[in-house]
């Protein structure tokens, strides 16, 4: 299992996951900077992603679609907010219409990725945040990842303490 720790905070609406990779940060960086590598992991196997543009610079936008089992397409976008090669990047991701134009009525998720060199390779930390619980609900309600299995994960500290 790649994932080391994973904490959800239902009141702050954040998800924080750490994972370790046997590759140096510069190499992990390429799974974000190279669209052909990015599309290998962004979508689940049942809904693979294809990036049609990828303007990898601060403020630059990327556009992609995911193709479902029946050939249906779900479009989305990224906006690269900050890039500090090879240690940190932040980006927003959201939904787009069938022409790839961002649908700003739909929720946006804010992701912050840190790549820290460790003896074994790289410690990756991703913090993903929604602006509101309604946004999270909409993202999941859209069936963004129809094939995803249901989580039986841990109940966070907040609930354990109550």
């Amino acid at each position: 299992m790649t994932v080391l720790t994973s904490v959800t905070d239902p009141t702050a609406l954040t998800l924080t996951v750490t994972a370790q990779y046997a590759a140096p940060p510069a190499q992990v960086w390429t799974v974000f900077s190279d669209p052909r590598r990015l599309e290998r992991w962004w979508g689940p196997p049942t809904w693979p992603a294809t990036f049609v543009d990828h303007d990898f610079r601060p403020g630059g936008r990327a556009t992609y679609y995911m193709t479902g089992p029946d050939g249906e397409k779900a479009w989305g976008w990224w906006r690269f907010v900050s890039l500090e090669e090879p240690r940190a990047l932040t980006f927003d991701d959201g939904f787009a219409d069938d022409s790839g134009t961002p649908n700003l009525e739909m929720p946006t998720a804010h992701a912050s990725v840190a790549l820290e060199p460790v003896d074994e390779g790289t410690l990756l930390t991703i913090v993903s945040r929604f602006d509101s619980a309604e946004d999270l609900q909409k993202v999941l309600g859209m069936g963004m990842e129809p094939g995803m299995k249901q989580a039986l994960g841990q109940i966070d500290d907040l609930l354990a303490a109550s």
């Binding site: 009141t11 390429t30 590598r37």
Partner: protein, 122 residues
């Protein structure tokens, strides 16, 4: 999915209620210990009536329950409802776990134009 097990109107009310920062803060407090509305009101820079209104929204959403205790009305968090919100985040968590595992598989692949992971550029 958990979402489908809940009545959609209940889910809407729950998330509309949790979309507000003050209300999220109230829920967090009363999950640990019940508190009276008047105690809660002292914690926020707003009127008693405003806090009472927030509590009423949370109560309608099933996130808290109110009990009359003598002269006081005690507010207590409803763990089950907050747990339902946590489960939604857990579904989102699974999406990221899948992505991070696929990155691992990708990095483990030897490619002709790229040296293997351990010998790669630092």
């Amino acid at each position: 999915m958990v979402v489908e097990l809940l009545d959609p109107d209940t889910v809407d009310r729950m998330f509309a209620a949790l979309a507000d920062r003050t209300r999220r803060d109230i829920v967090t407090r009363v999950l640990h210990h019940e508190e009276s509305v008047s105690n809660l009101a002292q914690r926020y820079e707003m009127s008693f009536a405003a806090v009472q209104k927030h509590v009423a929204v949370l109560e309608r959403a099933g996130l808290v329950t109110k009990q009359v205790h003598g002269r006081e009305r005690l507010v207590r968090g409803n763990v089950e409802t907050v747990r339902a919100a946590a489960r939604l985040l857990e579904q989102y968590q699974e999406i990221w776990h899948g992505r991070l595992d696929r990155i691992d598989a990708l990095l483990a692949e030897p490619t002709p134009d790229r040296p293997p992971a351990q010998g790669g550029p630092a």
